[in-house]
Subunit: 346 residues, 2 copies
DNA sequence: TTGTACGCGTTATCAA
DNA sequence: TTGATAACGCGTACAA
């Protein structure tokens, strides 16, 4: 077992000083060709690589990005991570991932673990519990210590930092407009409780589209799903709520749902109730994941371009890290959505 | 902006030595109650936290695990990561994620980046390209440098290390036996090319189940999907291959597919060809992801318990790290599969 | 009770 | 051309 070699060991072995070795490996002109070759050959033989930790300590830079997300078993978030990885790796950065699991405490603990020197900056999406409690002190403290943060998707106006968001409002509006243009007269909305701001914006987009066409929003057509558990979708209760929605409003001929699960479940329930898709009811979801693509019929969805969001977030963060201006000029980048049409609409 | 405080700054401020501060913060009896309180109060005020990097350098331990996987936008792998995170965080470890994107080069580069001091050990699943080339030198080099590795799912017998695998053979066998018991007479297999060993084992399980029941495996019922791109499923060509399979063998009344996508696609094609599921054809897949759960009809699958695999891998790795025996006694842990029955079988 | 000195691995500056 | 020294931040054995 050949443990990792250090400069010191090479120096001892070759009977020169540590700094000579260091310089020789950097091809410094100060060192004679002779020793340079000798050192480099030896280093190559023993596969010398500088120790990242020592470099981090010296440079006060870790070349590592911390990512905190609520959940990783989730198509959107994993796409974002892929985007972050892609961009960060290209720039020579590593990515450390922490999961908040939608919990405030875990979010704080994870950030604490990483904020003490392990990383150069954060990319994060806020947990539901944090949004609910509206306690954002940990973000501000981190920023105050000179550690830049970029938020994505679930962002919050109370914090001053770079942000990358989807145009939830516009994405939803375009989707609902599509349904209206497709002759839907009674369009239901299946959304989250209002404290999840992306859900709120999408709800507003829905209403705005209706108003655009002088359609009066009907409160009874709006279902705000009660997901008390925060993390796991309770399928049975979701199905029941949607069933009640359809049974109570048989005139529904279009559905806009703020995520894939809601949309897929709506399709399932509709068909159980004897409705054909898209003939009787047209459905559009949000988030272009595997479910939408492989559903039968294929689900028309608003794609968020998760990977692009990740890349952009990484770009903003690395920009700040490398230029060391941490305090002003914050931007909010909007990544456009795209309506991907499949068979659940006409 | 209050930059992070160090021991040195506290010492200077309070006009004591650095080591006094250090000891005081550790509640050492050596230090007088007086100074202890003074120091602790000051530290608390300025929110002192020891610098992880400095600790890592000193202790030669980073308390960080490196995870290299081929792809993160993938239900199974993200579940494994969740399991790793869960266990690792509990033990005070962080998780750094690298994506090989199924490429040999990226796998090597990513490991190189992390192996130089950034982490204490690896958990990884081998990329398809690496499996194809059968070049495993980077794993051995890493191990030889005293860095422990735990492999999961896509493992390889050539490397001596701890492994966590699914019993692909048994899982497949049980699935196919189920089909046979359900009166299927002509069971097709949709699998990968043989160099993906999990596909190979599942194929063997399929054959073994047939033989158990004295059924002669029919080569024309076995489809080895040609996924040249390695990373992205080419849906159209997949659909065509499956269509040819069904058209060429109308007697097929059961399908076992080695992953979700193959299974879902098989269901889709079967129905396009006018077959009812499960009445005309019963289908079982492998990997219990969102697709299986939300498909209509729900897909019966062999669940791999990804999260448990991740937890176990983390446990094995941390065990080695903390006990510093890196060279022998390697174990291969088999995580049992479970057949989850839904509506695609009778 | 407090402080000094050293080492973790590296690089940069300055001295020889 | 080479080497010694300091510094990054911390903890600890040992000296005062």
């Amino acid at each position: 077992m050949n443990k990792k070699v250090t400069l010191k060991q090479i120096a001892r072995e070759l009977d020169v000083s540590i700094s000579t070795v260091s310089k020789a490996l950097k091809n410094s002109k100060e060192i004679s060709e002779d020793t340079r070759e000798k050192v480099q050959a030896f280093a190559k033989l023993y596969n010398y690589k500088p120790n990242n930790i020592a470099l981090s300590l010296k440079n006060r830079k870790t070349k590592t990005i911390g990512v905190i997300i609520p959940e990783i078993v989730h198509h959107f978030f994993s796409k974002v991570i892929r985007g972050i990885e892609l961009y960060a790796n290209n720039k020579g950065y590593n990515v450390i991932v922490g999961l908040s699991n939608e919990s405030f405490d875990k979010e704080v603990i994870n950030m604490d673990m990483l904020a003490n020197g392990s990383i150069d900056g954060f990319i994060l999406s806020i947990s539901k519990e944090t949004l609910l409690q509206q306690d954002y002190h940990h973000f501000n403290e981190t920023i105050n210590q000179g550690m830049p943060i970029v938020m994505f998707d679930r962002v919050v106006k109370e914090i001053n930092c770079d942000k990358v968001v989807v145009d939830d409002f516009k994405g939803a509006k375009i989707a609902v407009e599509k349904l209206i243009e497709n002759k839907c007269k009674n369009i239901a909305l299946i959304t989250t409780k209002d404290y999840v701001n992306v859900g709120r914006y999408r709800t507003q987009g829905y209403i705005s589209a209706l108003e655009e066409y002088n359609i009066m929003p009907q409160p009874n057509l709006i279902l705000k799903v009660d997901d008390e558990s925060l993390t796991e979708y309770n399928l049975v209760s979701l199905e029941n709520e949607i069933k009640d929605l359809f049974m109570g409003n048989p005139e529904i001929d279009g559905v806009f749902a703020v995520n894939e699960i809601y949309a897929i479940t709506a399709m399932k329930i509709a068909r159980k109730l004897g409705k054909e898709i898209p003939d009787d009811i047209q459905v559009i979801g949000f988030t272009d994941g595997v479910l939408s693509k492989h559903a039968i019929p294929g689900l028309t969805t608003v794609s968020q371009h998760g990977q692009r969001i990740g890349e952009k977030a990484a770009e903003l963060l690395i920009e700040r890290i490398e230029n060391e201006y941490f305090t002003d000029n914050f931007q909010t980048v909007v990544v456009e959505t795209e309506l991907i049409e499949r068979e659940s609409t006409k």
